[in-house]
Point group: C2
């Protein structure tokens, strides 16, 4: 039995080695011994958990045909995008996390608000964020960005918007009605979580978990009476397998009610940043601007850090994780989010062309988003973004394009470098 088991493990080590190295073969250093060694841990974990109740017997082999969608997603990650533009795997992946049986649900530590990690029979995992706010509610104007709720629909809408912008840097996120009793309370092994379940005065089942913000009885999340809207985002490869690096945003807010950040007082702030690594080389600065544009469109003020995969070094686009505080207010735009673009006057040409396309009547950003969001399972419960939020996208897109136009004018007059980072040079020739 032990020998059989060891054999299986060895096979999987080999299998994972082949798979990962194949997938990333054009980045040789990714295929370091250390990385593939970690695959052992990864695989052996699977063999152990395979004996647990509720999980499927692992059936996949070295043929990618046999891989579950989440593994195909992990293996398909490149330094420039999390998934390809036309990915046949995407539909099955999102469908599975929206419908597969939930085998396990435990709280995820870290972060300030309640979230759960849910596991599926095929070992796929998703990050669960519960609905906390009605669609038509706007974030209280007196709340600071660091006190805002996380919104499940913002996580889903951010995935769609990021894809529409052509970035593909947000992990796939879908909506799902979760039965808080059968799919969380009854199956969780997390006692601290289980202890916080209660029945509300109107007979809804609620829970609040343990976390640093809003984890109290007054802020409980509740089923109606059992069904709770939530976002489920596909988990990225485990950190032990694919470590990530966290970068402090140069345009980070002060996270204080009284202090101003440096960029808020120094108009020439960007000229310093442009000379500072890693923004002084490669695509990092325009990658950052891509993220700034996404954040301005969805009014996300909470991008204090961003992440990259360590193995890809500095030649990689940024991961757009954690978008729950976006889409809080539709009636107000937040010009300060766009400050990096205004100060640096630098944008990828491909991004600019995409934005112009999305401002045309036939590809109007609000319409494209509406259509894209309507494919989500929660759409039939209620549209994921209200019409005022969709209208805000179009208004904000105009502001981004106007900012670029102003940059062009300024740079031309000053005889400075072009606003555009030419990533389409070969196509134009």
């Amino acid at each position: 039995r032990i020998i059989e088991c060891l054999n299986e493990i060895l096979f999987i080590i080999y299998l994972q080695y082949v798979e990962f190295c194949f997938s990333y073969s054009h980045y040789l250093r990714f295929c370091s011994l250390r990385f593939c060694f970690q695959a052992v841990y990864f695989s052996s974990t699977f063999r152990v958990s395979a004996s647990q109740e509720g999980y499927d017997e692992v059936q996949w082999n070295s043929s990618s045909e046999s891989h579950p969608p989440w593994l195909r997603f992990h293996l398909g990650i490149t330094r420039w995008e999390l998934y390809p533009q036309h990915d046949p795997n995407m539909e099955l992946l999102t469908q599975q996390i929206a419908t597969q049986r939930i085998v396990s649900a435990v709280q995820k530590s870290g972060g300030t608000q309640l979230k759960l990690v849910m596991s599926f029979p095929n070992y796929g995992q998703a990050l669960f964020k519960p609905m906390k706010q009605e669609r038509e509610e706007e974030t209280n104007y007196n709340l600071y960005y660091f006190s805002d709720f996380e919104r499940h629909n913002a996580e889903i809408a951010a995935f769609h918007l990021d894809r529409i912008l052509g970035y593909r840097r947000v992990p796939p996120a879908v909506g799902r009605l979760v039965d808080v009793v059968k799919e969380i309370k009854d199956i969780t092994t997390d006692r601290k979580l289980a202890k916080t379940f209660f029945t509300s005065p109107v007979g809804n089942v609620c829970f609040y978990g343990q976390c640093s913000y809003y984890c109290s009885t007054e802020h409980a999340v509740c089923g109606r009476p059992l069904n709770l809207e939530a976002s489920l985002a596909v988990m990225l490869p485990d950190l032990s397998l694919a470590p990530r690096r966290s970068w402090r945003s140069p345009w980070r807010r002060s996270y204080s009610r009284s202090k101003l950040a440096k960029w808020e007082t120094e108009p020439n702030y960007c000229s310093t940043i442009k000379k500072t690594a890693p923004y002084n080389k490669g695509t990092r600065l325009v990658d950052f601007m891509d993220m700034v544009i996404l954040d301005f469109l969805m009014s996300n003020m909470d991008r204090h850090h961003y992440e990259t995969f360590e193995k890809f070094g500095n030649s990689t686009s940024l991961l757009h994780l954690d978008n729950g505080r976006a889409f809080g207010r539709h009636s107000k735009d937040e010009p300060s989010i766009l400050v990096p673009l205004q100060q640096c006057c630098r944008i990828r040409r491909s991004t600019w062309l995409r934005l112009r396309l999305l401002s045309l009547p036939q590809y109007h950003i609000s319409d494209v988003m509406r259509a894209s969001l309507s494919t989500d399972a929660l759409h039939k419960v209620a549209p994921l973004l209200t019409e005022p939020h969709l209208a805000a996208l179009s208004r904000r897109l105009k502001t981004v394009l106007d900012t670029v136009s102003l940059c062009q004018k300024q740079q031309k007059e000053a005889g400075r470098e072009s606003v555009f980072y030419d990533d389409l040079g070969s196509l134009e020739k």
Copy 2:
């Protein structure tokens, strides 16, 4: 100077003694030495504070003509009502707390939510509760009654409703737009309070104070940009002067998410209570029913205790204090609040007649409340109760009258005592 001061104190001891004893002369035991002795403390306090900046020189003497409205109010309190039906003092009193300069504002300890005690130049004091919820917001249905916000407009509306019902057992409460900087932050001597002021992202000045519920940055109360709606309720005589007794309500809720109270499971609960002091004698039971009817009409589930003035013993009506959790939901009635009436089938005849009057088209409760509330200073900012809340009053009044009718039928069939406690016997003859 000391002798002069002592003389003044002695004069005021005498004055207070005469005043209080005169006012309550028909209840001799009220005029105990102890009570009047406490007046010394009361008066000497005044003489000391008179030297403080911002307060008027005390000008009043033994003639009630010279008394400020708040003192007339205190002296006019009887065991059956806090103020007379036709009280020429009431208009001046409410007008003063709505407009007089605020000399001091400090947090009031006790209770679970933020409240302040505000003082005026003539030594009057009022209890300040800030606006926390928009008028059109309904309390979250999943919140337990003990987690609900306190509402400033509920305090004001409760005063009006209680007066309309002919009880006069809620201390006068008015609305006021308070400048949170000039009228709180700049003048407070309460450092713990002052420390919690900040400017919100949209430039409103906010504060949250220190208390056990909702005193945190996420639940701050904010001016627009400086003006904050609030309720100001006239303070009752100091507890050292007129001590009060707190009574646990026999129909108190369990204040637990899982436990039921005894009255919820025992249909004959009232027959026990009717035999138990003080409900077995005098008017206590029908006084309690008066309060139950008020609470059902305004949907206040939070009446765990009620108070009486100790000096009046058991022959006194109840004080209807602390109504901030009323008027939380208009679209739902809470039948459990009416359970005491259903179980005891006992009501004052005068109360019943008043309720019938308020159900007639020409004295319709919703119309009378709308008219009464429109006299408040905050009415011009926004009506204190929205139309759905006014409509709910009428719907709930019908439920109360139906309950009494059902009681009449049941008692008649069973040959039991009349539903009515006849407090109008002499009038009918």
